[in-house]
């Protein structure tokens, strides 16, 4: 059984994002910490634990610049067997469809039984990679999974929808996007980090995989408006309650 995981490298959730002063379509990426997209960690853990259970093999695929290799190495330290880095010179772009197309092309030679990815990229907010990939590969997909069991060519998954739990059975091969709660991703220990350095990593370029250039591009990035200062009400409880109520009804028109 071959399980593939799709990864993306994103800025750390706490990183101070600075838009490039000369090129407003991108951020200054050199001074910040880049990490594995947090949702992708659930996918890696699911892939590794499933492979351990079914003596399968695992492959991590990431589109990114040179520095994205560290994300693949992290995945390898978590137990992924092999990696494919699809080189791109810029940081992330908005065209999830072209990304899916490239990844699908990379899987032509050896189609995985199961493809896992995170439910969303936290940098661009895209959540379309699983569906797009399934479309290009002509396989089924299921999104936002928080429970996954695999038996040979079938998987049973669960996903939460508005107060209900959907239980779905899907025939492999197929694509699954992973939601928080699916598992507890392991911490790469030192021994595993060392072994990861020796695992096979294949590097290809976008053009190797027939990228037809993104059909979308950023025009400009801008910062969200700064949060305005709060309003402080002072005085006795009765008085402050009245002030607050007046402000909510009259000024803020909350009701």
């Amino acid at each position: 059984m071959l399980i593939a995981v799709i990864l993306r490298q994103v800025p750390d959730t706490e990183a101070d994002i600075v838009i490039h002063p000369e090129d407003p379509t991108r951020i200054i990426g050199d001074d910040i910490k880049w990490i594995m997209n947090p949702y992708d960690e659930f996918a890696v853990e699911a892939a590794v634990s499933t492979a351990e259970e079914h003596s399968g093999e695992t492959l991590a695929i990431c589109i990114g610049s040179e520095k994205a290799e560290s994300v693949i190495r992290t995945a390898m330290a978590m137990g992924i067997d092999a990696g494919l880095l699809i080189r791109r010179d810029s940081d992330n772009n908005p065209d999830i469809i072209s990304e899916a197309k490239v990844i699908a092309a990379s899987l032509k030679e050896q189609m995985p039984d199961l493809i896992l990815c995170g439910r969303e990229y936290i940098d661009t907010g895209d959540d379309g990679i699983a569906a797009a990939l399934a479309e290009f590969l002509h396989v089924p997909h299921v999104l936002n999974v928080n429970k996954l069991t695999v038996d040979s060519d079938q998987i049973q998954v669960e996903r939460e929808v508005d107060g209900d739990t959907l239980r779905i059975s899907m025939t492999l091969p197929g694509v699954v996007s992973c939601q928080k709660g699916l598992n507890e991703p392991r911490y790469p220990n030192l021994m595993a980090v060392r072994k990861a350095q020796k695992k096979p990593l294949d590097i290809k370029s976008l053009s190797d995989l027939g990228d037809d250039a993104a059909r979308m591009r950023y025009i400009a990035l801008s910062y969200p408006p700064a949060r305005s200062a709060g309003r402080l009400v002072k005085g006795e409880p009765e008085d402050t309650a009245r002030q607050a109520a007046e402000w909510l009804t009259r000024d803020a028109r909350a009701f």
Binding site: D12, E14, A15, D16, K33, I35, E184, R186, Y187, P188, N189, L190, M191, A192, V193, R194
Partner: protein, 668 residues
Amino acid sequence: MDHTFFHALIVSLAIPGALYPFIKAVHRKFALLQKSNPVPDPISEHRVRVKELLSIFLGQQKLFQDFKPGIMHAVIFWGFLALLLRAITLFMMCLFGFQFHLPLLGSNQITGRLFSLITGMATVSVLIMVIYAMYRRYVQKVKRLINTWGAAFVLGMIAMLMITDLLFDGVFHGIRNTGFLWYSPFGSTLGILFAGSSGIVNPAMVWLGHFCIVLHCLGILAFLVYLPSGKHMHILTSVFNVYLRPLHRTGRLVKLDLDDETIESFGIEKMDDHTWKDVLDLYTCTECGRCNDQCPAALTGKSLAPREITIAENHFLQDEDADRILTGCATDEPVKQLIPDVVSEAAIWECTTCHACEQACPVNIGYVHRIIGLRRAANLNRGEFPKELKRVFKGMENNSNPWNIGASKRGDWASDLDIPFFSDTPNAEFLLYPGCAGSFDDRAIKVTKTLVQLLRKLNISFAILGSDETCCGETARRLGEEALGQSLIHANIELFNELGVKSILTTCPHCYNTFKNEYPDFGGNFKVIHHSQLLAGWVRNNPIFPAAVQLQDVTIHDPCYLGRVNGDYDSARSIINGISGLITTETEKNRSKSMCCGAGGGMFWMEETGERINHSRFDELMVQQPSQIAVSCPYCLIMLSDAAKDKQVQDAVKVQDVAEILLSAIDR
């Protein structure tokens, strides 16, 4: 009355009969030591070691930390030293005749008479102390003592040895009709009693005398046979264990060579991963429980109890693992791992690395580095640790602080204070390094800001790193994450050297300790001072007389890593005592016996089970109902403030850093 053929026969047969199993058992123990790993440091500085031998071994210094049982043990110990020569004499008397005496120790020589006086007193004193020991074990039922058959056997045996010696001595003097002799107050008095008014000792009593000297000798031999099998092995090993203590290792973890690709397992995974000193520690444990009595985890009912780890490891080594290690044969059975086969996994994650157990141990047994060794194996080899730590490690890795707050916000506490950056003012006297707590925790930031005000009042030049500052690596290393810890340390050293940092002023004793004691192992040599030391130096020359003097009791809580680990108990006290109106009150657990607040060793970042350590410590500090508790560590500050809030007494007692107390006195 003299020795007979039977005395000589019994004793001369018994000696080889006892020596054979004794030597065999000791040889096996010695062979296990030889099979163990080398210790990291050379055994040097013999002058220091001899001093420790005199105070800790001969002087029994650490035993007096628990005073009454300390006296008991010391009297038995010193008594035994004197009685060693007496025992040799008694053996020789059995073999060669009762007139035997060692050179210079004959009963008509003054040295011999003094010796006789000393041994007589020793015999009676030891007997009294053994009765007291029995009282502690079986009447008082002191909690920390384990009542094994071995303990009962040894106490009974010592009592028997003393009684047989006295009775023999009594009969010996009775027959000779010596009357009272000043140099044998007990023996000669018994002699008078035995001889009675007739002046002739009853033949049955004479037989008793013969019986006693033989029984005494056989008793000593039985003791010898028993010695290597139980906790009384300490009689043989404690002298070595005290002498061979790793000096300069308190608060200084052994650096692991992470670049050596041939190492396939780090830390302590199995018995063979111990050094010979660790194994000697196991042999030397007397199971007295003084460590447990001081351990914050054991005191609050957690699964960690240092003594129990040592006992479990020792039993496992002796009973199960020794043959495998000695023969070196690979069997089909997998080698047993210490966790979970011998030590519970939960226990190693409950250690605050406060070193109270090591301070309490009368025979210098080391604990903290062994627990860290077990953590290192769990962490580096297996990636196993309490799951809440994952976020902490990721925080340190990605944002260089355990809170995982954005690294760019690290200097925000100083944003309105106009403090120069070190890169702009490389001639500043100090690099002020507030550390993670002092940069990110609201309560600790107040202390950092207070210190800034004080430094300005004192005209001391300083600068900060702002958002370039990174975590010192102390906590990562104590949590067994050596790789992360080392990467933080290397990054800091590189930055400090690049900027030309010479002196670092810390607010956190953990940063202080790691900069001072651990960074040199990585090539980082900086002068380090804790803010309480800097301020104390100033207050000593400039006592504070506040305009409005308020009489207040201040209880001082000694942080582990300033006090026990670095021996500084006085800085905080100097500051408080230098302020007119403030009176320091001391708790029972102060100075070297100070109880940890519960935060050290990364415990701050883990879920705590059972009674909370900070609550327990807080209650102890409140016994004298002080109006203030003075600390000099941000983690102690947070833990004890939290305890005050939990107990809803935060208005009755102020938990403050010494810097805050000083500033408010200056401003008052």
